[in-house]
Symmetry: C2
Subunit: 424 residues, 2 copies
């Protein structure tokens, strides 16, 4: 499927006017950045770049797309025929997926003639804003879980396609698995599942439901024990499965208290290796509050797929340079800094990040031994650069980047960005 | 594209166990409902039903889908071959799109053998939860705008596919148009667009940008006047376009003050019919605050596509009946009411809604002359019922339904649901 109509009407009318007056050919630089992090957040996680590169490759105007534009008179004939030949021919640099970002970080830089670059605004922002919002929330949850297994199970609480992208972003941020099967097919993410209350209710007794599940899925499965009464549920689960039962899941009630009771009960029944999975409106705060409890895995849904209060990253796509000359809106406090930019992150000798430095691309700021440039080439002459990170590599990149965040910046509480952004 | 992998892992493992033990054939009823409205909201708007019916028709397991399930060992051979033959064969009733809903309203009822119905859980919830969240927020914004034009322009702040569904939900709720071109192609929604700051910045002067836009799009276009200085921008706009200029857009600053100044200036320049479009982080509250100002149209983005604080409707899909016997989870406060249900809405003689009555489907509660049953047949024997509402009809249904809401229930402030739900 082509991605070219994931585009706002005005991009094509601007294109039409620019084609007519000749400015469509002017070499331009567009930059993606976030003016600020969501309220109180300490860092953002770049996600979606890989999906964006695929979407740019599919950004062509098929017959079906052109027919819509013609029928609705969005653009004139000359523009239609220009679009019919469109493929992206420019260069793109950007922060790799899994990199941290801060206010003003130049996350993506698109260099192309105006007409070639302007039409990517909506597509680029849709993907980066969604995926980065989810990954940023997910990273906080993974931190709060402190190494315990995290299962993403929020598909039902978001658009069916967002669900697939959310599963990808969560995996990037360190989640162990997803419930979403399409995410497995499309992105190779491991899936996991337990059981719903419906399965127990379908059967004449809880025991027959447990027996059926174990006969089909083996004793290493996860039995959902809170349909009727948790204590009875656990007793029945171990009776049916024996002490080698894989896991029990608790989906309601005071999860801390119930996890402790369940652990005691399982231990007393000899099921010392049976794990406890908890779920039910968990977010980074409730995950953190369960740190001291005998919980082995968390199932996280709504708060993950809605960005835990910040469902969009709020990034913008701004024209910063025309014909080599910096440009910027000047009427309001929402000023943008003109000119093509690059950035580096300074670190202490110990590896702890100190500041994000954003500088004019043409300048050469002093680099310390522990500093590093942040953007990498993504597309050259319309062609995706070889050897870009796999999803697994992006996951590892984030893991490593989070190690560099100062302690204060890893707190879940609201506060300032973990490191300041300095504009040279 | 098939929709069958927009599904959680556990639905297929439950299916596998139920096929093996014979319970997959048990006749079941699943219901979709919301336990509560988002905090402080007075009503919800059902949206997505039309998309769901399409998605159920496309719910088949293609080779590509089966290959994933086989490769990842999610289910056994017997289940794979059952899935290969899957098409939905059951019955579905539900609230039509554009209908209001309240806590406990039985929004969708799926009647099918367990195996046939259980696999639709994630798909049904993804679509209804997303689209209803957007439509519910959009309806409040449309109410706040009090008849003025509303343009949905939030695509860049949400996943690229959610953007298309959000545009559809916003149109259902009374928005005039969307910026999203794919929404025009897929759902026939009118599109609109103005211009970005990038277009002005691309040109050597604001005047040359305005001139170019008018030459291509005519004087009825919308000029964006706040790139440099709004007063100069408006002056230049009218100089270039003449007093027949269609609209000016202001995207920053104190929109109320600026709209008044712009109106005065436009009037003094003779451009008395030039409209004023405002945009920039608008939500239902800021729209309402601009009621007294000379604003002709609102462009709404982020808050619309993120449900204005409630990005998901929180609906659940619960098994309520097996073999004609009511079933319900019993371990917690989150109790569900077992049994297949129907509902009616009671109204005063004046047409004002009084209460939502939810009753066992088999019972026949007394119906007053102004009461009406709420669900309609959607699918019979797997086949979509003929003559279901078009999107335009759903839009009109919502408009009419909102007229029945008691005054108190149309307030934007937080409070109780507009009418109580009574369970018989």
């Amino acid at each position: 499927m082509s991605t070219s109509l994931f585009t706002d009407h005005y991009e094509l009318t601007m294109l039409a006017a620019a084609l007519r007056d000749g400015t469509a050919e002017r070499p331009c630089v567009f930059e993606v950045f976030a003016r600020r992090l969501p309220e109180g957040r300490r860092y953002g996680v770049v996600a979606g770049t890989g999906r964006l590169l695929d979407a740019i490759a599919d950004f062509t105007f098929t017959e079906r797309d052109l027919e819509l534009l013609e029928r609705t008179n969005v653009v004139d004939e000359a523009t239609l025929s220009w679009l019919a030949d469109y493929t992206f021919t420019g260069d793109v640099d950007g922060y790799p997926e899994g990199e941290l970002y801060f206010p003003g970080s130049p996350i993506l830089s698109v260099r192309a003639p105006f007409g070639v670059g302007v039409v990517l605004e909506t597509l680029a922002l849709s993907i980066l804003n969604h995926d980065s919002a989810i990954a940023s929330a997910a990273a906080r949850m993974v931190g709060a879980a402190n190494g315990r297994r995290m299962i993403e199970m929020g598909s039902r609480r978001t658009h069916e396609e967002s669900a697939v992208a959310a599963a990808r972003a969560a995996f990037l941020a360190g989640f162990t698995a997803t419930s979403n099967l399409e995410a497995a097919r499309r992105h190779g993410i491991p899936t996991a599942g337990t059981c719903a209350h419906a399965f127990t209710l379908l059967h004449d007794t809880e025991e027959s439901a447990f027996r059926s599940q174990i006969e089909t899925l083996g004793v290493d499965t996860t039995l959902l024990v809170d349909t009727y009464d948790i204590t009875n549920g656990i007793k029945t689960a171990v009776q049916v499965a024996g002490p080698s039962l894989g896991s029990v899941r608790i989906d309601s009630g005071d999860l801390g208290v119930l996890a402790r009771q369940a652990r005691d009960q399982l231990d007393s029944l000899g099921a010392r290796n049976t794990r406890i999975v908890v779920s039910g409106d968990l977010d980074e705060y409730s995950i953190a509050m369960l740190r001291a409890e005998p919980v082995d895995a968390y199932g996280v849904g709504t708060s993950l797929v809605t960005g835990s209060g910040a469902p969009t990253a709020g990034m913008v796509y701004k024209l910063v340079e025309v014909d080599g000359r910096p440009v910027a809106k000047r009427s309001s406090h929402k000023e943008s800094r003109g000119g093509r930019k690059a950035s580096l992150r300074r670190h202490k000798e110990t590896g702890t990040a100190l500041e994000e430095v954003v500088f004019p691309h043409a300048s050469e700021p002093e680099m310390g031994a522990h500093d590093r440039l942040l953007a990498v080439p993504l597309i050259r002459g319309g062609r995706r650069v070889d050897g870009l990170d796999t999803l697994a590599e992006s996951r590892e990149r984030l893991r490593a980047a989070l190690v560099t965040v100062p302690w204060e910046g890893l707190k879940l509480s609201r506060g300032e960005p973990a490191i300041p952004t300095t504009f040279l």
